[in-house]
Structure formats: C-alpha cells, structure tokens
C-alpha cells in the first residue's frame, strides 16, 4: 500500500511537471503555474517527499531543501539529451555523487587536511555517512590480476598528457586519457599544468624512492608496500581516501555510474603506466 502510494505520487509529480514541456522550452512556465499545486502535494505527502526525487534524504542530509532538489532534477530531466556516448544515464547519481553534491566546501585543496578525520567526523551523522561511503569506495578497488603494479613511465606520460575521453565528441571505444596535467604539475619540462590538485613533481623521490634498487624492491613487494598500495588505491578510486575529492575515480565504476558497458575511465594497464610515471626513478616526474 505504501509502495503504491509512492508510485502514484511519483506519477502525479511527473504528470504535473511534464504537462507542457515536451520541447524542454516551456518548463519554467510549467513549474510556475503548477507551483502551488505541487507545493500542496508535497506538504500533504511529507513522509513521501523523496519519492519524487532521485535523492534519498538519509544521503542528502537534512539541511537541504528536498523540494528544490526535486525541482532541480525535473529541470535536468527536461534539459539534457543523449549525444554520442554521453547517454542520459550519466545524470543518474550514485550515493557518493548524491552526497558530495551537498558537501559544498572545496575538496581539491593542496592542504594536507584529510576530510576524513575520524575524531571529529564520527560524532555526527554526516561524518558516519562519509565514512560509510568512503568504505564502500574502498571496497571497489581491485588489485592487479597478475600482482604487478607497475608499467611503463613513457606510456604513463602520454596518458597523463591526454585529456580526452568519455565526452560526447569522443568516439565510443576510443582510448581515454588520464587528464593528469589538467590539475597536477608532474614533470619539470611541462609548463602547461593545472593547479586544482597538488604538485606531483618528484612524487616517488620525495617518498623514498631514491634509486633504482629501492624501486625494484618495491616492485617486488607491491602487494604489501604501503606507498604502492596507497598510490594504486588513489588512482583506482580517489573517493576511497577523500570522499568528495574532485579527482575522478579512474579505475572503478560504481553501480549508478555503470556507463558504457561498465568500463572505467582507465584500464588497469594504463593505471600501471601512471604508477611508473609517479614512482620510477627514471621517470620525468622524478627528474
């Protein structure tokens, strides 16, 4: 019965909002004229509020206006069209995306503060949710099938330079780039780098990989070496370390972001090449 009521409400919401709007051009008029009716429905159906929305109130947190979020999603549904490989399914958010849409501080800073300080965060529900979602992301990380974490730094540099992939103008099935230079400084010679993320110049060198011997030892102990594990993990799924970081999850797909036959942005082989770019003492990053 409850489910039926919810379904009815969903249909009610949709029919009231989609009435005049098949061009996507008259939506605001539609929202305007139906506004009070819609508000009334929402007030009467307070416990069912979220059924109009993609949002789950337990995820979005209580400080957000569910009516507004629901309106926003209606506007989104009317405003976008699938093009090339960019289908409308991309607008469906997973729990991490939903939650992080409500966390509005900037999360890509170069400061060392980790958003996941368990001391302060576990005292409140947002903190608990953050930790829960972070662990979900951590569980998504796969280790390399062959136990080898490293590839070729020269290929890694090309992947780091390449910012293409997954847009509606990129051909389906084309190889995606890593976008690394968009946000990070990596090598000494490339001056065209962004500053949304921290500098990764001398990433390996600054973390103790001072010689080829050290590097080769780490290669051997990849599965148990903390630096290898951390670097691999961040490249595979940055959200496992800092939930709302602006860095994409390069090696995993969540249930909701299971776009394009479930393919992550980068393959495991590409991520291995990026590992070498960051860690190999012969890489331009560690020059």
């Amino acid at each position: 019965m409850f489910k039926l009521a919810m379904n009815l409400l969903v249909r009610k919401c949709q029919s009231s909002k989609f009435a005049q709007v098949n061009t996507g051009y008259g939506v605001v008029r539609a929202i305007h004229s139906k506004k009070y009716l819609l508000s009334l429905i929402l007030v009467l159906a307070q416990p069912l509020l979220t059924s109009c929305s993609l949002f789950d109130q337990s995820v979005s947190g209580s400080s957000f206006d569910s009516h507004l979020i629901e309106q926003t999603h209606s506007v989104v549904a009317l405003s976008f069209e699938a093009k090339g490989q960019a289908g409308l399914d991309r607008l469906k958010q997973d729990r991490t995306q939903e939650f992080c849409s409500t966390q509005r501080g900037f999360k890509g800073s170069t400061s060392a503060t980790n958003a996941l300080d368990p001391q302060s965060s576990q005292n409140n529900s947002i903190g608990q949710l953050t930790e829960q979602l972070r662990l979900e992301n951590l569980a998504m990380i796969q280790q390399p099938k062959d136990g080898n974490y490293l590839g070729d730094f020269k290929r890694g540099e090309l992947i780091a330079q390449d910012g293409r992939g997954k847009t509606w103008t990129d051909p389906q099935g084309s190889v995606n780039g890593g976008n690394c230079y968009n946000c990070h400084r990596l090598s000494k010679n490339e001056i065209s780098y962004g500053s949304l993320g921290p500098s990764l110049y001398q990433y390996g060198k600054l973390r103790g990989i001072t010689s080829l011997d050290v590097y080769l030892t780490k290669v051997k102990e990849g599965a148990s070496d903390p630096l290898i594990q951390y670097t691999w993990g961040v490249l595979m799924n940055s959200k496992a370390y800092d939930l709302c970081t602006v860095m994409p999850r390069f090696g995993v797909t969540s249930s909701a972001s299971a776009h394009e036959q479930n393919s992550p942005i980068l393959t495991q082989e590409q991520i291995k090449d990026l590992m070498s770019l960051l860690l190999d003492p012969r890489s331009p990053v560690n020059d």
């Binding site: 051009y25 008259g26 976008f80 997954k166 500098s199």
Partner: protein, 264 residues
C-alpha cells in the same frame, strides 16, 4: 591505516616550489597583447547590421524586439538578463529572448532555431546578435533581477545544478569553479561562487574563441562545459542553462560587463 595513508597523502607533502609566477606573467603578457584588438568586434559589427536588417519569413528587423527594457531598447538590456518576461511567462536569457523575437517578429520557427548546431546558420546569427547586444552594456554593472518569485526559484535551481555531481568523472561545475586562483592546464578557473569570479565569467561571454576562431555565446560556453564535464548535451536555451545563467548573473551583481571578451 589512516596514519600510514596520511604520510603518503597525495595532498600536501609533495609541495615543491613551482615556477608558476613566471608562467602566469608570460601568459598575462600574451593575453594583454591580444586585448589591444579583439576580433569579437568584427562580430559585433555583423550583429549590429543583422539587428537592423529586415529578415525572416516576415521580412522584419528586430528594432521592436523587447529585451526587457521596452521595445527596441538595447543599451543596458544585457546586464539585466536573464529575467522574467510576462509575455512568455518564463525566465529568459539573452539568447532565448532573441529566439522569441526572431519567432514573434520575424517569423522564424522556434524549434528549428533550437535544434540547429552552434555556429551555423541562424544560430551564428544569434551569437552575433548576442555579441552586439552585450557590447551595448559595456562598462555597466550587472543587475540581474530577483524580484519575481520565478526568478528567485531559477537562481536556487541554478545553484543546485552548479553543485550537482554526476557522470563518469563525478564532476560538477563546482569541481573546477569554487576556488580562487586555480588553473586547469594554463587556463584560469574563475571562482563562480564569488562576485569577482562570476563577473569575470558571465561578464565576458559572448567571446571570441582563439582556438576556434569564432564567436561563442554563453549558451555555447555552458554546453561545452557540460561536454567537458562528461554530461549529456544540454539543449539550447534549456531551463537548466538558463537557471545556471541566473545563478551566475546574480552572483555577478555590481560587477562590470566587459563583453564581448577574448578567450583562448
């Protein structure tokens, strides 16, 4: 576990001196040289001529087009857009309002204009008209109205959209545009949540794009942002893009209009 991760955190300890200042200074020099003469002026001239020219199935000019300050008033109209129009019953940005005028006055088919590609045919016309109209507000402060409840609603929706994370890369507008002084590659990323950043962004489109050698409108700018965001394609003059424009325009309140701009 978290302690170990902290030591190696990608954020933080890897800071080394970056030669950013010299690069930024050199880029500023490059941009300054091009500001001396902006090819967008060529499109302003075309837009001005198109505004006055009898065109469309009804062979009329746009001299009676109401951009919000009354029929035919162009000066100062752009810094008060998007706004609510009672004749259409919705909030419109400059480009959607131009479509209304081209339909009502000149007899063009609205849906055809919406379905065209950017930079082609009548859509290039719209971009040129937008360049002209925006140039007629040069130096004026933004004053995008929030008097009508629908205008306030559109602002709130625009803000939600700005922070909405989705797609293959988990990006939102906010991912790149909520901090001061950041770049993507060498391009400055304005902080669109501040008046200065929103003024710089909203107040300089339409702009001449060096990389494409053409005039780009705000609608085209937003569409390409969504492309890079790995979202599906926003429809031209769709409510989502207009809501975002309201968000940006209101955030830019008091900032001086400098369009048409010149961009990479």
């Amino acid at each position: 576990m978290l302690c170990i991760l902290g030591i190696y955190a990608l954020t933080g300890s890897a800071q080394t001196p970056q030669p950013k200042d010299t690069t930024d200074a050199a880029l500023a020099q490059y941009r300054q040289m091009l500001q001396e003469a902006n090819p967008a002026d060529l499109y302003v001239a075309k837009g001005q001529a198109l505004w006055a020219q009898a065109r469309g199935p009804k062979a009329q000019s746009l001299r009676t087009c109401d951009l919000g300050l009354g029929p035919g008033v162009v000066k100062g109209a752009w810094v008060r857009l998007p706004r609510y129009f009672s004749d259409t019953g919705r909030v419109q940005d400059l480009e959607s309002r131009l479509i209304t005028c081209m339909h009502d006055i000149q007899g063009f088919d609205e849906q055809e204009l919406i379905d065209l590609d950017f930079s082609k045919g009548e859509r290039l016309t719209i971009a040129q008209l937008a360049a002209y109209v925006s140039s007629e507000s040069e130096g004026m402060p933004f004053n995008v109205p929030q008097t009508n409840p629908v205008e306030r609603e559109m602002y709130a929706i625009g803000q939600e959209l700005f922070y909405m994370r989705a797609g293959t890369h988990d990006f939102s507008c906010a991912s790149c545009h909520t901090q001061d002084g950041r770049r993507i590659r060498l391009q400055d990323l304005p902080n669109l949540s501040t008046p200065a950043g929103a003024g710089f962004a909203f107040g300089t489109w339409p702009a001449y794009r060096i990389s494409t050698g053409s005039i780009w409108s705000m609608q085209q700018r937003l569409a390409d942002c969504f492309r890079q965001q790995r979202f599906p394609k926003p429809k031209f003059a769709s409510p989502a893009t207009i809501a975002l424009s309201v968000y940006l325009g209101v955030n830019a309140s008091g900032q001086v209009a400098q369009a048409p701009g010149l961009k990479r």
